[in-house]
């Protein structure tokens, strides 16, 4: 498996995976922090009751929900489409790497790229908040919790999209679903979490560690049980479908 992951990292060369990720990280960080430099927001910076950090985390959650589904779809599609285009499935199979192994390795390799990217993204948002002049001390708990869950959710959607890209050769399908997912993810932030939990992309809202109640923004604890359940379900389904991929004859 390690060898298969290293192979995927080798194939990633020139796929512009790195630049795409960096670009999106910068964009999300910039969009999340943009409001920090507006006059109205700045007045809250010294006021602990206004919870400026929670407000920033909520904006960040919104931006991440809007972009992550598409980012994962694009990364997974680029990494998988090369196997269709280059007759890679057969090449790998004759070397003992089944399509299922390839797909699992792709998810791991892409996750390895995404892990530092998501961490950096959160750090950039925090950095922007500090630079804008938020004086209230930062409570790291919700930020670490959110960043971790955001990453795990991205991994889950990478898995979905790698499987989709491997099964449906037309990559417009996967990327289209990613776009639809981005819309759903942003939309579910406005819905009660009882509804969001039933929509896969709704989990980008379910993992929110901050919420707005009227005019007040405050930290909140997401329902970890639902999130864990969702991640375990995705893992189990992925294990099953990639094993099935091994038996598909092309």
């Amino acid at each position: 498996m390690t060898r298969a992951v290293v192979l995927e990292l080798r194939k990633m060369r020139r796929l512009r995976t790195g630049p795409i990720v960096v670009l999106l990280v910068l964009a999300v960080a910039a969009l999340s922090s943009a409001s920090q430099f507006s006059g109205g927001t700045r007045e809250t910076f010294d006021d602990p009751t206004a919870a400026p950090w929670a407000a920033l985390l909520l904006t960040y959650t919104m931006m991440a929900a809007m972009t992550s589904p598409l980012l994962t779809a694009v990364l997974a599609s680029r990494q998988t489409d090369i196997e269709h285009a280059g007759a890679g499935w057969t090449l790998a199979a004759t070397a003992g790497y089944t399509p299922g192994v390839l797909c699992r390795a792709k998810v791991v390799a892409l996750s390895l790229v995404l892990l530092p990217a998501v961490a950096l993204q959160s750090l950039l948002v925090i950095g922007a908040g500090t630079a804008a002049g938020i004086r209230v001390p930062l409570d790291p708990g919700p930020w670490i919790g959110y960043t971790t869950l955001l990453f795990l959710l991205d991994v889950a959607f990478l898995a979905l999209h790698v499987w989709l890209a491997a099964t449906v050769e037309n990559q417009l399908v996967g990327v289209g679903i990613g776009m639809l997912g981005a819309f759903l993810a942003a939309f579910t932030l406005l819905l009660p979490s009882a509804v969001s939990r039933l929509i896969p992309w709704g989990y980008y809202a379910v993992i929110a560690h901050a919420a707005q109640d009227g005019d007040v923004v405050a930290y909140q604890s997401p329902s970890y049980a639902w999130i864990a359940g969702f991640l375990i379900l995705v893992g189990a389904v992925y294990a099953f479908v990639t094993r099935r991929l091994d038996r598909i004859e092309r």
């Binding site: 060898r3 194939k11 060369r13 090369i82 285009a85 280059g86 007759a87 890679g88 004759t94 070397a95």
Partner: protein, 299 residues
């Protein structure tokens, strides 16, 4: 001669269609085995089964005297280089980077990669992106990927597809060379002409059935070329009740054996019909092939 590939009643059925029908292949060691058949006759499907990429519906495969099973497959594949249908190659990587992927997959040495690239004469182009390769270069890269593991058996599905005559000749020379080094080469094509001059043994597939297997010479023996009898007086011959078609030089007789030829000539001589020449039509292997596959696969 020991066999590298043998199959027994190898069959593959897709839903309602039998793509490969009870094949008994026998590929001896160290030969170039030409696997011929028109489009859709089941060549690729057979080769995929030989590589364990597709599961046979029934029948068995023995490679290097070992039965091919899911358990033995990985081990057996280590000594089989292959290229099925489209040549592999990641377009966004260079030729060398593609070879490095194969190297890493199979844990090969640098020298094996260099040697494979040199064998197909791609060394000069190894730093070019594969998407910018010509079709011939892509085919050669595919062959290099198959050769890198220094296989004992090479299974190539239409490696000359889309090549110009010079490219075909190049592949032909290469395969003959490899066979002379003791590598068994199984190569498919739907054009007999391409295979004719390199194959030691031919297997001809039609509609999923193996309609011929043997040497080129044996193939000729299976067919009887038409007989031409040159005579200025074909009318007199036909009056004797000989079944023939009048042609420019005289008469043309189809499907008659050596004994029948002798009998016809004797009757004409006795009747005093002048005979200037009796000869067989020169038949190309192509004619034989068309004859075989065109007649609905009957021998």
């Amino acid at each position: 001669m020991s066999a590298v590939i043998t199959t027994h009643g190898l069959t593959k059925t897709f839903r309602n269609q039998t793509a490969v029908d009870s094949l008994d292949l026998y590929v001896p060691q160290g030969v170039v085995y030409g696997f011929l058949g028109p489009n859709g006759s089941g060549k690729s499907t057979t080769m995929k089964m030989l590589l364990g990429l597709t599961r046979p519906t029934s029948g068995g495969i023995t490679l290097f005297d070992r039965p091919l099973t899911p358990a033995s497959r990985t081990d057996l594949l280590r000594s089989i280089g292959s290229m099925i249908e489209a040549p592999p190659g990641y377009g966004h990587l260079t030729g060398l980077e593609n070879m490095r992927i194969v190297q890493h997959m199979l844990d090969l040495a640098d020298t094996q990669i260099d040697h494979a690239l040199a064998t197909v004469r791609l060394t000069a182009h190894r730093d070019k992106l594969v998407r910018n390769y010509s079709l011939g270069m892509k085919q050669r890269l595919g062959v290099a990927m198959a050769l890198a593991r220094e296989p004992a058996l090479l299974v190539l599905d239409e490696p000359t597809n889309g090549l110009d005559p010079a490219g075909i000749e190049e592949i032909r020379t290469l395969l003959v060379e490899l066979a002379s080094e003791g590598i068994t080469v199984m190569v498919s094509s739907h054009l007999l002409d391409e295979i004719d001059r390199m194959a030691d043994v031919l297997g001809i597939l039609s509609g999923g059935k193996l309609i011929f297997q043997g040497t080129r010479g044996e193939l000729f023996e299976h067919s009887t070329p038409d007989l031409i009898i040159e005579t200025p007086d074909p009318g007199a011959a036909l009056a004797l009740g000989i079944t023939a078609t009048p042609v420019l030089e005289g008469l043309r007789l189809s499907g008659i054996t050596k004994e029948q030829t002798a009998e016809v000539v004797r009757r004409l001589a006795v009747a005093g019909v002048p005979i200037h020449e009796v000869r067989r039509v020169r038949q190309s292997l192509e004619d034989v092939f068309m004859d075989l596959t065109g007649r609905g696969g009957l021998l």
